[in-house]
Amino acid sequence: MNKPESAPARNTKVMNRFDLTSRLVAKLKNEEAVIGGIGNTNFDLWAAGHRPQNFYMLGSMGLAFPIALGVALAQPKRRVFALEGDGSLLMQLGCLSTIATLKPNNLTMIVMDNGIYQITGAQPTPAAAVSDIVAIAIGCGLTNSAWAANEEDFERLVEQSLTAPGPTLIGVRIDDKPGTGATRRDPAQIRERFMLGLGVREAL
């Protein structure tokens, strides 16, 4: 119980959420959808540069992967990324089984794991010292799940996911830094812009 940070994720470098998010966004050339989970996860997605295909959650903690699954089912030809925190995912672990059952091959899930609820004062999550989120995902049937060893490995896993025959989950250990930006909290506009970005709507 003495190790505060996700102890079971051994041999993985502690990286930074904003840096990894920026690396991901820099790779996006095909109007890929990106769902940013509550709090720091979507703040860093916003700070990495707004794109019309980004969706930012301002609540509903734990629903980044389910929302991304919905987008992936609706638009099977579009690659969908979901960025979620470890604390958020713990709220909705059941969705991993749902996703493993449906097996959308256009979905890449990224778990930003710092073992803490950074935004509420850096309290450790109940999983922090004992649970391995990638092992949980594999146990749920998401066989294509792995920890990224470092930034280069993260980029390699992202690339690999693009042609994977099923959904991919990438775990990344991150530091305890807060998010870099702050998303504009305008839910109706976020949703409308996202739908425009996905080609579902046309602007008035």
Binding site: G59, S60, G62, P66, A74, Q75, A188, R191, L198
Partner: protein, 190 residues
Amino acid sequence: MAASEGQMASQSLNEKTSQSKTWHQVVLQTLKRNDIRLVPYVPDRVLTTLIKEIHADPYFISFPTAREEEAVGIVSGAWMGGMRGAVLMQTSGFATLANVLASLAIPYQIPLIMFVSERGTLGEFNYGQSLVCRTMRPVLDSLAMEHHTATRLDEFEFIIDRSIKQAITTQAPVALILSPLLTGGKVFDK
């Protein structure tokens, strides 16, 4: 039934055919008529036949989720991606949704369509179910959400077809509560 099929169909309150259909056939056909293909659910005894029929129809993409909230996230994402959905659940499942309604469906203006099989009233045998049932309408009313309780088969198609269309055109969620008066409910049988 000549012009404007959708309009006419929803005016069929006294149409003979709707009298001879079962309530679950009405749900299935009304979902189809409104292009609703995605139907995630957390099962309920009363919904068993409907779920079976939806699974048997290749038009639908239907699957169980671990929680009702998860299903709400899925249909919200699908809506934004251009695919319509509806969530099936029972009363106690609705009771887990206040946060996602207040932080996702309503502020993001997502036409979330929910069918809620009502337990907790008209012959309930589990005290907890009867208590949680009493939280449902106060939660819906506190969020000023549209909701209807369907009790009669002759009104059912009108209520759900109109409500689905209203949800979509006004970009606002709706709860369609299936009363035991409509479905028979679940009764103590052991």
